[in-house]
């Protein structure tokens, strides 16, 4: 909460600023691709005779999902080189995989000392730089994941479990990391980090608004949902979002700057259509218990997706007011990825 005056009035001023900002700015460049990482593994355990196809999927022109690359149910995140979308990085149990040919061939980029990648991000203004969130900190590659180096100066020795990592698209080398002890910021390509928001438990997701790179949102396991309007330097709670149970992810709607959605196993789906000033549970039509692992918004249509664990990918064309069962039966979606237009 650094830098904010305390009290409800200050919160309302923040939300007014968010709304004003949202209303006054156009969306970023039109997105070009919408992907998800999913494990289609209902009932699967190692040794089972169940054959599953899991991993990275791309939304095709007909609204279906096309599997890309190798079969891996542990992929938690993917990132693309903004210059060339055939360069793909995945974060997975084995670490970080990279494809240079659109998923035809892959290389495990790391050695044994990097494991269980949680998130991966490419710096759009310095695309050779790749950031990897790990259970024991952060690794950075300066050369498209040919090599990795640990850059954890400023992260605590204990407390640097990193669930999510995002690069500020407006500034090269400016990165936010969601760790078990809070949100950390670097402005020098991870040479040093400083904590900008302490939390009691893991920060599960960080997102940058499409219409204004100064706006960020975060959700946590035990501290609710948070907003920033100054590039992640200071943070304020979103009012009305409960904090008794874990929130898994938050997403901005690329087609509508005032809309956000939150996923939670316990609460299901929350949405806001006023830049986070008010939130509404949107679970009518979702199976009970809700058990929502992830929400995402189609950058072309504004369709809201909710992954209900081991059930299906539910869709809503009215931002959560009604839901219908969709594709990917028996799946858990670990991430949605929206990719802006590539040069190539």
């Amino acid at each position: 909460m650094n830098g904010f005056p305390s009290g409800l009035a200050a919160g309302l001023r923040l939300l007014a600023l968010l709304a004003l900002s949202a209303a006054s700015r156009p969306l970023a460049a039109a997105p070009a691709g919408f992907y998800l990482c999913a494990a289609l593994n209902k009932g699967y355990v190692t040794g089972s005779k169940i054959t599953t196809v899991s991993g990275l999927f791309k939304r095709d022109g007909a609204g279906g999902w096309q599997h890309i690359g190798y079969n891996d149910l542990s992929i938690t995140a993917a990132a693309f080189d903004p210059r060339d979308h055939s360069v793909i990085y995945t974060a997975a149990v084995n670490g970080c995989w990279r494809s240079l040919d659109g998923g035809q061939t892959w290389r495990q980029t790391n050695g044994w000392d990097i494991t269980e990648g949680r998130d991966v991000a490419v710096d759009p203004r310095s695309p050779d730089h790749v950031y990897l969130a790990l259970p024991d900190g952060v690794a950075v590659s300066p050369d498209r994941a040919q090599t990795w180096v640990r850059r954890e100066n400023g992260l605590p020795d204990r407390g640097k479990y990193t669930q999510t990592i995002k690069v500020d698209r407006a500034h090269a080398g400016r990165v936010l990391a969601g760790c078990e002890s809070g949100i950390y910021l670097t402005e020098n390509g991870a040479k040093s980090w400083r904590r900008v928001l302490p939390t009691a438990a893991t920060v599960d997701d960080l997102q940058q608004a499409w219409n204004d790179p100064r706006q960020w949102a975060a959700v946590t396991q035990s501290d609710g949902a948070w907003a920033s309007i100054d590039g992640g330097v200071t943070w304020r709670r979103f009012p009305g979002v409960p904090a008794d149970h874990a929130l898994y992810n938050i997403t901005f709607d690329p087609t509508h700057p005032r809309r956000l959605a939150i996923a939670s196993w316990h609460y299901g789906v929350f949405t806001s259509e006023d830049s986070g000033a008010t939130w509404t549970a949107r679970n009518a039509g979702l199976p009970e218990p809700h058990r929502v692992a992830r929400v995402g918004v189609d950058p072309d249509t504004g369709r809201l997706y909710a992954s209900v664990v081991n059930e299906s990918l539910y869709t809503s064309d009215d931002f959560g007011r009604t839901w219908r069962r969709g594709a990917l039966e028996g799946s858990v979606v670990n991430n949605f990825i929206t990719v802006p237009v590539a040069v190539k």
Binding site: K42, G47, L73, A92, G111, T115, R158, W265
Partner: protein, 636 residues
């Protein structure tokens, strides 16, 4: 915790139909009195051959589905039916592959066993699967031992293959370097600060099999001798911690079945194979065939054999171990485990200091008594706090909190989230052991899952007597037992688990065997404690004399504000133990910082030394990972 199935379930999947096995259903084996090298060797090879022959016989040429990796390993090891096996391999390789590191090590073994037997097409089919199938590396040390040993060996078998021929996208040389780097790192940890997943009843196979494979097939002599030395290390520990072949005492990981029927684990397959002093479990523990396939290449040193079979002298062994790595919510990455074992002819007592150690399947302490035949016998006594917490699971696993407990149950670990469980560690338990006395103290915060202490009382105990003194006396085999609950309690039937048919994850039902079954002593006071003392029946004129001796011992305890026990043990030791403080024996506080890697009459190693000395009588073997030497000597 990436959806990895329980070993028992996986073993059942691998094995297929179970029918009579000679050693499993036969009489209790007796270790040969003649310990000359050729006699021991012949008996060992006979046992290995029994496994191979049994497995090979389960393969029916007219029923291809009966020929899986276990049967293929058996037939190749016996040099049978190479054409049939080659054909079946080609069929299997056309199917989608699954199993990750559990897939890798059988196919690595088949690749080596089949070098001179399989058709070129079969070998090519296996080799291509290492390009097209992407196994996960897993999230535990046993996963990594299997993954990297297999990858290392395959990269040596195909030493010059390019990056695009491997699923990793790395060349053979790169795969070898990565795998070797990890394996040496793991050996360094184990030989300096202790093993993770220590003394596991089932997971011993996931370490012993890869080490055997390195010892057998590694081309690099460094990796070959490292594999051999680590296998010696594992077998020496097994020998030292088994009572007549039964692995007892504290386990980093065991199962609902093995924690009661202490014999019923893959560890007994290794005791049977190596020492011949207990029967193997059903289907040779499932994974036994994958050891048997290369077992002729290992020769158990006689010193380890003697450590396993000689129970003529009582001994205390203290070992240093460690927990698995903690990713978050903890100040420590791999906290130390201080383990104590007291071994006698009639019984054994084992423990570690308690507290939160490993996240699942942990067993902290017990008294286990010897029985003429351990099959079906629940020959153990202990208490524990049934603790369940998603935050603790998240210390070790990267998953989100919700659903973690359900996920565990679906993987064949059904008891994590039930209050009557008998498996698992608790941050609110502290344990001290002095020889055959155990004091376990509990200080459970209100609101903790679950607010009770579970004391396990076996169906196989006799003369269970609730004495007016507060002690509960019982007899197990030739062992007298005294159990003192420090707070009021009631009795419950311990419900068992029966697996149900399921195509989607592990399903079960609870079963109540009524008064004929095991019982739980349940005490719901949050500040609590248990004292157990054991003695051989030979030490007393009668059971009543044992009870009188226990009742005559000085004992004071209180539970508020924290549990405190002061007592004199049957062995005359004055023990004072306060929850949260170092135990004090005869006025001297215990200093865990002085704990060695191994300290006892048979196994000795300094912390950080990378050097284990195994001794028995005049025999000595030194495993020195600093110089990669195995040194045998005999005292003149």
């Amino acid at each position: 915790m990436k959806k990895f199935i329980s070993l028992l379930t996986l073993a059942a999947l691998l094995v297929g139909p179970v029918f009579a096995q000679p050693a499993y259903s036969g009489p209790m084996p007796v270790p040969p009195a003649d310990t000359r090298s050729d006699t021991l060797r012949r008996a060992y090879l006979d046992r290995v051959r029994e496994v191979l022959v049994w497995y090979a016989a389960t393969a029916k040429p007219d029923k291809p589905e009966t020929i899986g990796t276990g049967q293929i390993v058996a037939k190749l090891a016996l040099h049978q039916d190479a054409a049939l096996v080659s054909q079946r391999i080609i069929e299997l390789m056309k199917q989608p592959q699954t199993g990750d590191m559990f897939w890798m090590f059988p196919w690595a073994a088949i690749s080596f066993l089949g070098r001179d037997q399989l058709s070129p097409a079969a070998k090519a089919a296996i080799r291509d699967a290492w390009r097209t199938y992407f196994p996960m590396r897993g999230d535990t040390e046993n996963h990594w031992a299997m993954y990297y040993s297999s990858l290392y060996l395959m990269a040596e078998l195909y030493p010059d293959d390019p990056a695009d021929s491997w699923f990793t996208g790395k060349s053979s040389a790169e795969n070898r370097a990565e795998a070797k780097g990890y394996l040496i790192h793991w050996m360094d940890l184990a030989t300096t600060i202790g093993q993770g997943e220590f003394n596991p009843t089932h997971y011993i196979g996931e370490y012993a099999i890869p080490m055997l494979y390195l010892a057998t097939w590694a081309k690099d002599p460094e990796m070959r001798i490292r594999g051999h030395m680590m296998l010696d290390w594992l077998m020496a520990e097994l020998a030292d911690n088994t009572l007549n072949g039964v692995l007892r005492g504290a386990n980093a990981r065991t199962t609902e079945e093995s924690v009661l029927e202490r014999w019923n684990g893959l560890s007994s397959f290794f005791s049977w194979t190596m020492f011949g002093n207990t029967p193997p479990p059903a289907a040779y523990g499932g994974f036994g065939i994958f050891f048997a396939g290369a077992a002729e290449n290992y020769r158990l040193p006689e010193v380890i054999y003697q450590v396993a079979v000689d129970r003529s002298q009582d001994y205390i062994q203290r070992d240093l171990k460690r927990t698995r790595r903690r990713w978050r919510y903890s100040d420590q990455f791999m906290p130390p485990i201080y383990k104590t074992s007291y071994m006698r002819r009639d019984y054994a007592v084992g423990s570690y200091q308690g507290g939160q150690s490993d996240p699942i399947q942990t067993h902290v302490w017990d008294v286990t008594w010897a029985v003429p035949d351990p099959r079906g016998v629940h020959n153990t006594l202990f208490s524990m706090h049934p603790y369940a917490s998603t935050e603790v699971l998240q210390m070790y696993f990267t998953e989100q909190p919700d659903g973690l407990i359900d996920s565990l149950a679906g993987q064949g670990k059904p008891s994590f989230g039930v209050p009557d469980k008998i498996l698992g560690a608790s941050p609110y338990e502290r344990v001290f052991q002095d020889r055959d006395t155990v004091v376990a103290l509990y200080d459970i915060p209100a609101g903790t899952s679950y607010p009770r202490i579970n004391g396990f009382f076996s169906k196989d105990l006799t003369h269970v007597t609730e004495d007016k003194s507060g002690w509960i006396f019982a007899q197990g085999g030739h062992t007298y037992l005294a159990y003192r609950p420090l707070a009021p309690f009631h009795w419950e039937h311990l419900l068992g688990y029966r697996q149900l048919p399921s195509a989607h994850g592990y399903k079960w039902e609870r079963i109540d065997k009524g008064e004929q079954g095991d019982k739980l002593l349940v005490s719901e006071q949050l500040r609590n404690g248990t004292i157990v003392q054991a003695a051989s029946a030979d030490e007393f004129k009668s059971f009543e004399a044992f009870q009188a001796a226990i009742n005559a011992l000085p004992l004071e305890f209180r539970l508020e504000p924290v549990p405190v026990v002061r007592l004199t043990t049957l062995r005359g030791q004055r023990v004072a133990f306060t929850y949260g403080q170092a135990p004090v024996v005869n006025g001297v506080p215990l200093d865990y910082t002085k704990w060695k890697l191994f300290e006892g009459p048979y196994l000795n190693a300094e912390k950080g030394s990378r050097r284990l000395t195994i001794t028995h009588g005049r025999l000595k073997r030194v495993l020195d990972f600093n110089t990669l030497t195995i040194t045998d000597s005999v005292t003149p």
